[in-house]
Structures are given as structure tokens and as C-alpha cells.
Amino acid sequence: MTRSATGKLHVYVVLSGLGLLGGLTLGRPELVAIAAPFALFVALALVRAKAPSLKASCEIARERQLEGRRVDLFLELSADRTVPRLEVFVDLPDALVAEAPNPILIRLPRGERHELEVPLRCVHWGLHEVGEVVWRARDAYGLLVYEGRAGEAHPLKVYPRGENVQRLLRPFETQAFSGNQVARNRGEGIEFADLRPFTPGDRVRRINWRATARRGEPWVNEMHPERNADVVLFLDTFAEARRDDLGTLDLSVRAAAALAALYLREKDRVGVVSFGGVLNWLTVTSGTTQLYRIVDSLLDAQIILSYAWKDLDVIPPRTLPPRALVIALSPLLDDRAVGALLDLRARGFDLAVIELSPFSFVPEGESEVEQLAYRLWRLRREALRSKYAALGVPIVEWREGVPMEAVVEEVRAFRRHARVLRA
């Protein structure tokens, strides 16, 4: 806690001194009479000056909330002595906005508990701390100011808002366990695949009676089995394009959270690799717990500047299981990420790149040179995109405001005609 004198205190002391000494000098008691109230005012304030001991306790209605939703913060304030003017400011990170007046001015009588309810709107995902209060109390005379902090910080996890996606990318190859993905191979399943002649050992229930009657010999149905898939969400956290309220990392985190939730709902195993200045990973697993793990790890995703060269060798091998579908979410701004994706493709991974377009975050520039540089930059990005496409990697640009459903559909359309190449 700090204590400071206001300008008013200094002015009153000087006025008192001037009045009293002026009265003496001029021999006029009137000057003393008009200075005396100021002197008494200051003397009373200084004699009675005592710092208030403020206690603040805080509770949050929820410890987890989705981006864009509200969460209520309950504050309880009390003081050991009456504070005639107490300014209370709930210290909030930029990602949280108070929907009630903040700061507020109250009078806090001694021993009374003052309860405040502050609704907060979660405007940005992340792990935030709320509950600390910055306060400023003035004494009854307005001559002294006490400032301090109170309360304890409570963690609040704001999960990214999910993108609306109905249909998912289907991996080229599925895994051995049962799931909801229709495998390309044939076996026990529900989806019809083909007809073939009956062979000893086939179950009678699989005989296709119409085909059998038409051909005069028994024919059986072949089915596609339902299998699960391994999906790795590959986040490029080397660099991002950003303006005040939004950046490409925000888009990638939202997309990753939505895709993880959808794939896990389909009984697939999902993992995350956050490839950037700091490498974070989660090995592929299925289940609701994994969804929470993934979302929690996404909250830690941040751009950390690093000049160290990194390639795929730094990623633990188990993080990228064989036959996994790798969905890369990248603004393709850093050569290390671009190289790593090309390397992934060269190693035979089933790769799809969702390019988080940085164009809406980078102004074109006003001068001729700036506009020329901008056009050259765009051309270089076009060339890079062509390079991926030539390698059979579906690459789709995701611009701000475009629904993710359209992006996924575009990747699906590309993959309908593409084939996996083995290096």
C-alpha cells in the first residue's frame, strides 16, 4: 500500500502559512481568521490520518467459459475503518471486458461487507487471472490518498469459440480399431463396397440373393469396415499476422479446437503439435479427456520469437504416428514451418494444409514501392501454394469471415482427385 499527499494538502498548508504570517506582518487579525480554518482542516486531517486496511475476496461463477460468453465475478469488500471514498478497479486482462462500470466509487463503512457483482465478457481465448482489485481511498478531508491492491487472482480458462464444421476430412488410411470412418479396404462393416463370388468360409448372411439369382452361382456382398483414424493437428506457432483484435494464431486455435472436438466425437484419435519457438505436443489419443487436454494445450499456444532452426527431427516420433492424417494450420510466414510441412509430405504423411490467410491483417500500403512489395509478396505466396499442390498436398486459403465448412469442403474436393505419393 502507498500513501501520498494530494496537491490540495500542499496548497492548504501554504495558504495557512501565508495567512498566519501575513496577519502578523500586516497586524490584521482578519487574515489569521481566514487562514485558521485551513490550518485546522489540515491539522485534523494529519492527526486523524490512518491507512485503511482493505480486504477483498473474490469468487468466479465458472472456472471455464467459452469465448464470447459471460462469466460473473463476485467481489466482497470490507475495511477496518470507514472509507468515505473508495475507488475500486477490478484488474482485468485485455481479453476480459467488464459489462458493469469499472472502476466504481463507493463509501465503505467500517465492518460492513460490500458485495459487488461484475459480469465479464470473455472476448478472447486464453488462460487468464481475475480477482485482483486495485483500490484508491481518500481520507474524509481529501488531503491524503492511499492506494493498494487486494484480493487473490483466480484462474479463468476461456476456451476458443468453435468453428461450425459438419463434414470432416476423411483420411486416406484408417487404423485398426473400430470407429466411424469408412475404411477404403474391405472387411466386416455396414457400407456396401462390391460384389464377389462366394468362397468357402463366407457367411451365408452375406450372400447377395439378387446377384446370385441373376448369375446362377452364389455371390456375396463386400463391405467397407468402420475404422478409426489418427489425426494430428499441426499448428504453426513460429509467426503470425495480427491486428489488435484478431490474429492468424486465433484462427488456427479456433479451428484446431473445433476439428479436435469433431474428430474425437467420431471416435478418432487426435493429437496436437504446436511447432514454433517452443515445441508442444500431445500424442494421439481418443476420448473426452483428450479433448480437454487438447483445448488446455491450445490455451498455451503463443508466438515465441526464436531464431533457432527447427525441423521435423525435433518432434518426438510417436507424436506423428504412421498413416495419420496431418492437418496443418499455418499462415506460411516462416520458412521453418514451410520446410517442415514439405518434409512431412516427403515422408509420406497424409497432409492437408489450411493456410490462414495473412492478407486481411497486412495493409497493402500507400506508396508505389509498398504496393509493389505487396504484390511481389502475394506472388511468392502463390508460387509456394503451387509447390504444395504439385506435391499433391491440398492447400486451401482460409480468410477471415469465410466459414470453415467451405474450407474443409475445398480440401475434400482436392483430395477426391489426389493420390498419395510414396517417396
Binding site: R3, A5, T6, G7, K8, L9, H10, V11, Y12, V13, V14, L15, S16, G17, L18, G19, L20, L21, G22, G23, L24, L26, R28, P29, E30, L31, V32, A33, I34, A35, A36, P37, F38, A39, L40, F41, V42, A43, L46, V47, A49, P84, R85, E87, P101, N102, P103, I104, L105, I106, R107, L116, A140, G142, L144
Partner: protein
């Protein structure tokens, strides 16, 4: 003329202080108001001014309102009682100021007839002592 000039200067300084939110200008304005009063009664003669308590209360009211105006603004008042309490305190301070000024004036009037070196010395000591006490109080508060 001098009083009028001082009054005008006080008004200008107060307006400037309120505009730029600078306590120093407000202090100078208040000092100019006090000086104007001193010049006025010096010109009038040696009789004690009966309106001194009113003037003292008025000066304190002006000072309080001026400093209230330049306080940092807090956008929301959660409680109207905070404002009511402050207004009540301001009223009480003005009444108190008038009382203290009356007391000082009456004491001065009582002492006018039977004054002497001892009483005058006592007055000088009281005035200087008051300033010293205020300085000591401030020092105790901010240096501990």
C-alpha cells in the same frame, strides 16, 4: 483598483487551474483572493471586519469545490450516498470554518483593548507555532 486587479487575477488563475487541472494555479488563485481581502480591509481602516467568518467560510467553500473539480474522475458512482456524505461534510466544513473564523475574530476584538508586548509575542508564537506544527505533522506522516 488593486483589489479589483487581484480579484480579476484570482478569477483567471482559478479558471486556468480548473481548465488544466493544476492545483498550483488553484492555490495561487486562492492566495490572490485572500490578498484581495487584505487589500480591501487595509484600505477601509482599522476596524475589524464583521464579515470575516462569512468570507472565511466562502473561501474554504471555493477551495473545496475547486479541488473537487480537478479530482480524477471515476466514471460510475455505485452509491448516491457517497455523494450525499461528501456534500454533508462540505457543509459542515464551511460551518466549522465560519465558527473558527468567528472565534479568531472575537479573540482579536477582545484583545484589541488590552494588548501588550506579551500578548503580541504570544500571538506571534502561536502563528509561527501553528505553521511549525503543520510542517511537523506532514513530516511525521510521510517520513515514517
Amino acid at each position: 483598483m488593486l483589489a479589483l486587479g487581484l480579484g480579476g487575477a484570482a478569477l483567471a488563475l482559478l479558471a486556468f487551474g480548473l481548465l488544466v487541472r493544476w492545483p498550483g494555479a488553484l492555490g495561487l488563485g486562492l492566495a490572490a483572493l485572500g490578498s484581495e481581502y487584505a487589500v480591501l480591509f487595509a484600505a477601509e481602516g482599522s476596524t475589524l471586519d464583521r464579515l470575516t467568518p462569512v468570507y472565511a467560510a466562502g473561501l474554504l467553500l471555493v477551495a473545496e469545490l475547486a479541488f473537487w473539480s480537478i479530482e480524477r474522475r471515476v466514471p460510475a458512482w455505485s452509491e448516491p450516498t457517497a455523494l450525499e456524505w461528501r456534500l454533508a461534510r462540505l457543509g459542515a466544513a464551511c460551518v466549522g470554518a465560519a465558527g473558527v473564523a468567528s472565534l479568531a475574530t472575537v479573540s482579536a476584538a477582545a484583545a484589541t483593548g488590552g494588548g501588550g508586548v506579551v500578548l503580541e509575542g504570544f500571538g506571534v508564537g502561536a502563528a509561527i507555532g501553528s505553521v511549525v506544527i503543520l510542517a511537523l505533522l506532514m513530516r511525521r506522516l510521510f517520513l515514517r
